[in-house]
Symmetry: C2
Subunit: 468 residues, 2 copies
């Protein structure tokens, strides 16, 4: 009875409201497994695992830049925490990579209006050395404008690239407006610039620089490359608009070293059928160095781990759930590549990552849209009570699972609301207070629904008799 | 006719809505001088002077810490600007004072969870020297808790004082919750602490430390004293709650030197009667060093100067309007004291300051409440169309005019909405983008109304014939 009522409610929720439909043209009703619904609702109301992970990791480790001692401490913390939570096969799979670390940083307008600006180097920036560099600032409103400029105009200058990224729920804009960060330094270097500063790829108006990775490609020599906070970039624009030549002194000290160690932390909820395809979920353990990386991505490992824990609490799934806390995502997805090299050929029932903060999931998509609509309908029906709609145009998402998906794993994307994500992304402001516990629980409930739906069935286990 | 309608509207607006009133018990109707209303409405719709001042000063000078070269550049800028705007008697009145400047700053948890925290020294903090100090952190939830602690417990420690200031429209809370900053360092020093950090006296959740002045009194030796941003203070609380001893390495390098120069910049709109009492308005020119001081207090000098300029544009007032851009308010109201020493005995018709940001004025009060209710009724009626209510419990306000008011000048307080003021106050985030141009114009309209109402009448002057 209860099941029928629930199915009827879901059917109503799923019906397209904006077009005339006849009851005969509606898709067949989908009943959600009451066990799945109960696990989802329990996670939504009661989850505390995710908060414990995100609070613990950000408090007891703090920032955990890839391939540094801090990231190693984070792996130790992760192993201890995952074991304490009851996961099986908890272990680290190490890999090596180049490490980049930040030193002293400052930016100063020397003339015409002497004043300091805030700045942070981009990942793999060249180093100015401790004495810094001094040069005339040359303004471009886009990467294309820089690309079109004659080399002779750029040579010897400090390039400044502006842009106007706006907040968007789906995070679109980061691709297009991220170009100054990703391509700007290489183009500026190839044209002979002595350095580059960009308007931070961010949507806030605080004095927070947004760092992030970039690579020097096409044979470009590394030059110092930094991000100005949005208010500082706007200040520089106002100064430039006065029309006088603007001279900047820029200090961005940094160091790059090959052969440093990072690693992935792996934990499992073993399935009753070890040969069944695996459910792979996770997030990344590393963060940028400017903050404690609460939304990027302590929350991602917390959410997916908490979801797996809720299944574990309920009993034993048919399929093994594997949770991965990937290492070194920020500097270029090193952990995801290392994982795929080691495990890409295994059989998966799903591969998905949480790496877009901790605000509510608002839509989802998965490979099952095409490969198995019945499973997709189950997911759709199970997620709908959380306010999550299906996105028929969705695509695979997540740097850490990208290579594993390319190797054949079916993907799932749970899209979080990104409206305020780029206010904090890669800044000193990515701290625990930006996480809303109620929204965090909704995320856990969503991933719990996914894991429960695809688990192959969860068998309650008799509790171990207590020894006296 | 138009005048009658306006008066009727104002009467309606002023009528108490929540109690039964008879038309016979209402106060006598007040007609606003149409010239005053026209000046007010023009400022509200069209003012551009204030934006030009606040944009120019923050862009072309930037931060302007008291008694530094930057403040001297700000005075030069002010003199040039005020002359260009057509003010008379533009000049600087210099004074000397001790200057305090900031050097390298950092805070680091050494154990149990190594990580960096953001920090900024408070004004007149002692210096740690370049090597910093290391000590155990001792938590107090208030200044009173510190005061009650035995000296033996505090000796050799780094004191940390927490608090929980909340946003308030009237800014209340800054008095009470500002105690950790104002009194904490002295009490900690007298009890033998080697340093002190406080939770920033602020209402935001960004990685912005809120600096501000404090003095070592009662014979206390200066010790290093810093403010942690709110997220960092909350992080430190979480770390302390784990129960292990927490060791901090704190570097707050600073320097104090006596006999530095600051000054007040003074400009006038000369009245037709030079012997009539003066209308004194202004704000402070100096800022803290962490930002460009847009809301504290470039906006204050901009608003009051723009209001005086609107009177100047309309003609010649009977009474002289004197605009003062006070120097060195932040480290202790040095400019206000110097002004009062030189000019406190002159006769004033009003003395008022704008120094609480640039959000809308929501209420006002003045000495005329008691001394001349008819004038106060004129002000009330003139300000009401701007949404400004009279505050019968209001009091004099403004560090810079405090001494002049004590010497006998009638005061006026136009209270701005302070709900978000302490999000930015004394932080790196006090930048131009925090100013809403529409709210800034409302401020100008309010001060224009005050000046026009108290001007003694503005006589239009024939325009100078253009030379050919």
């Amino acid at each position: 009875m209860k099941r029928t009522v629930l199915a009827a409610l879901l059917l109503t929720a799923a019906a397209p409201a904006l077009s005339q439909t006849s009851i005969t043209t509606l898709p067949p009703p989908v009943a959600v497994d009451p066990k799945v619904a109960a696990l989802r609702d329990n996670a939504l109301d009661n989850d505390h695992y995710a908060w414990e992970v995100v609070e613990g990791l950000t408090t007891e480790v703090g920032q955990r830049l890839a391939a540094t001692d801090a990231e190693a401490r984070a792996r130790d913390w992760a192993v201890q925490k995952l074991k304490a939570m009851g996961f099986a096969n908890v272990h680290v799979e190490p890999f090596t990579m180049p490490v980049w670390t930040r030193g002293a940083e400052s930016a100063e307008i020397v003339s015409p209006f002497p004043q300091k600006l805030a700045v942070a180097a981009l990942g793999y920036s060249g180093s100015t050395g401790p004495n810094g560099i001094t040069g005339q600032v040359l303004y471009f409103d886009s990467v294309d404008a820089l690309r079109l400029a004659p080399d002779s105009a750029v040579k010897g200058k400090i390039v400044f690239i502006d842009h106007h990224m706006m907040p968007a729920q789906d995070g679109s804009g980061y691709g297009q407006f991220g170009a100054p960060r990703r391509q700007g330094p290489t183009i500026a270097s190839l044209k002979g610039a002595i350095g580059i500063v960009i308007r931070s790829i961010g949507t806030d108006h605080h004095r927070n620089p947004h760092t992030g990775v970039q690579y020097f490609t096409d044979g470009a020599a590394p030059i110092p490359a930094g991000a100005l906070p949005v208010p500082d970039a706007e200040q520089l624009v106002r100064i430039l608009k006065r029309g006088q030549p603007v001279t900047m002194h820029l200090t961005l000290v940094s160091e790059k070293r090959d052969g440093a160690q990072s690693g992935n932390v792996i934990a499992e909820v073993p399935g009753r059928d070890p040969s069944a395809p695996i459910l792979l979920v996770g997030g990344h353990l590393d963060s940028w160095d400017l903050a404690t990386g609460a939304i990027d991505d302590a929350s991602g490992v917390a959410i997916t781990t908490a979801a797996a824990k809720h299944i574990m609490d309920a009993g034993r799934p048919l399929r093994t759930i594997r949770v991965v806390w990937f290492g070194a995502e920020e500097p270029g997805g090193f952990g995801g590549k290392a994982y795929a090299e080691a495990h890409g050929k295994e059989r998966y029932a799903i591969a998905g990552e949480s790496d877009f903060g901790a605000d509510r999931v608002w839509r989802f998509s998965s490979a099952y849209m095409k490969s198995d609509p019945a499973i997709h309908a189950q997911l759709t029906a199970g997620l709908a009570p959380l306010g999550i709609t299906k996105n028929d145009k969705g695509d695979a998402d997540g740097t850490d699972v990208e290579e594993t998906i390319k190797a054949g794993a079916p993907w799932i994307s749970l899209n979080q609301d990104g409206t305020r994500y780029f206010d904090y992304h890669h800044t000193p402001d990515d701290t625990l207070d930006k996480i809303d516990p109620a929204q965090l629980r909704q995320n856990v409930a969503a991933w719990t629904t996914v894991l429960a739906t695809l688990s192959g069935g969860i068998e309650s286990q008799p509790k171990q008799p207590k020894r006296r």
